[in-house]
Symmetry: C2
Subunit: 329 residues, 2 copies
């Protein structure tokens, strides 16, 4: 894989064919969905959509569907729906975290306060289901609603486990699955459903999506400890300051006995968080975490092996898997 | 109509037949939906469901469906789904209003803070779509998603119009429609869809639901000004203190010129709010608002006239309309 292909833009260029034009259609659809619902919605929802993002989930929908499904309205609807759900969760997360900036622009919470932000999230959420229902099948709506239930459950689990460094690895991985991977899974399932793929094919692509979603979250958590801030755009150790216990800390506690006794609540400044990040890194926990992520990506990619995919589809999905495994920001 | 039949319990007794047992099934289903998703969800979602409520929306689903649809799983699913959506919006509203009590018990926000409350609302929301999708038709899911988009839009509209006493009546009525009536409309549509009613029948029952929903919200706003607190369970004028401009104030401003010049932001205490309520009442605005609500209920009930309904169905729906028109709390 070339370095350029490890970014979503690089994958889109490498995939070529129908992919760039479909993503452009998704973008138009997202703008239309945000703009078409009165001035109130238009302002906050439009702002959220316009703020952008990698559009990784719509890309998964399109790649999982393959070139033969390219002309189907339900494909664009599904790709727009997963991005709307993702945007809705970000808007709500920004309320929960009182976050003023996201993707370099002021959040809805910062612009309008928590009421418009909660309502905007609810609205994007509803629009996702409207959009998918208008074009998709009951099976597709079911897949999306399972994912959104999981997202909320994952958010609750994270809050419940906050400040508890003794969280077992399995429970940490369950959290990654719920809060991130299930929407990746649904994205792949929705693409396969739009391509009218058989049930086994839908399930295998879903399992692929779920795996790379877990790895995506795990490596996000590694980057929070590893930095550097210049690359990630945020201070190292923000998870630790929030009491969010992730795999690097879980592993480091097994390797550094005094660290296991540390009360996370005593880490209250950016400097203290940075020092803790260095201490976690010194145990080799970052490499161990990255290895775990790579194993998960490999297992996910293996799900694709037995599938009869369309020309270029396997390569493009593998590029996404590689991009997740290599993620640097 | 007897006085007893103006409460939901009274309507359920008067409707008799299949209605009480169906509502009991809905209740069981709600408890199962709250309990079946791990300890995190179980706590907050279960708490929310157990806190109760009038279950007016599930009742509308059941009554709109009529006795012949009584055995269908999709009917219970639809009734549970609309109540889950209603509960989700209450949980989110409590976050927005920092409300500590609802139906006499501590809110999720008060128990767990805003993060669990936002996530619990999201989860109840998702469960509603899962539940409806598992049993219903795409048309039913579409009806529900239109309603939930409207709920969020209504919430945004209310915040946007806050503190602006010059809101036109039409815009106020649009707010009532978006934040309340569309879910009433969807409840009736879902009932009719579960009964496999023809499109015209679904639309007419939906229009009935929408009308009584607008009146329900309008009279809720009247009660906020009229009280008495002993009956409504909350101080008079809480809407005014929140900057929420409702029909009684809009009408009173037309009749009392000095009142039209009042800056709502100067009303900051419960006593001042109560005095403003008295002043609004003195203009006759409460009676005028109630008359407007009655006209809307009558127009809604007229939607039922041409429909071929099942035995007892028209009477039961009329009881609901009467109960809305007569609402005292």
């Amino acid at each position: 894989m070339t370095a350029a292909a490890t970014s979503v833009e690089g994958i889109v260029r490498a995939a070529g064919g129908h992919v760039p034009s479909l993503l452009a259609q998704v973008e138009q659809r997202l703008v239309a969905l945000a703009a078409g619902h009165g001035p109130v919605l238009a302002h906050h929802a439009g702002h959220t959509i316009a703020a952008g993002g990698k559009r990784l989930r719509p890309l998964l929908v399109i790649l999982a569907a393959g070139p033969c499904a390219a002309g189907r309205a339900e494909l664009i609807a599904a790709a727009a729906a997963v991005e709307l759900i993702h945007s809705a969760t970000l808007v709500h997360d920004d309320v929960l975290d009182s976050a003023s900036l996201r993707r370099g622009v002021p959040t809805v919470w910062a612009q309008g306060g928590r009421a418009p932000a909660v309502a905007t999230g609810d609205l994007l959420f509803s629009r996702a289901f409207s959009e998918l229902t208008a074009a998709g099948s009951l099976e597709a709506v079911q897949a999306l609603s399972r994912a959104t239930s999981a997202l909320a459950e994952g958010e609750l689990l994270q809050r419940q486990d906050a400040w508890n460094p003794a969280v077992p690895v399995d429970r940490y991985l369950l959290r990654c699955e719920l809060k991130t991977a299930r929407l990746f899974e649904a994205s792949c399932q929705l693409g396969a459903l739009a391509a009218r793929a058989p049930a086994g094919h839908v399930a295998a692509l879903g399992a692929f999506g779920r795996g790379i979603g877990v790895a995506f979250q795990l490596l996000d958590d590694v980057l929070d400890v590893a930095g550097p801030a210049a690359l990630t755009g945020k201070h190292r150790g923000t998870d630790l300051l929030d009491g969010t216990v992730t795999l690097p800390l879980i592993i480091a506690r097994e390797r550094d006995a005094p660290l296991a006794a540390l009360d996370l609540r005593t880490i209250t400044t950016a400097d203290a968080a940075e020092a803790l990040c260095d201490r976690i890194a010194a145990t080799g926990a970052l490499e161990a975490s990255r290895e775990r992520a790579l194993e998960i990506v490999e297992a996910a990619t293996a799900q694709l092996a037995p599938l009869a995919l369309e020309p270029g589809q396997r390569e493009a999905l593998s590029l996404v898997a590689g991009s997740v495994a290599d993620r640097q920001a």
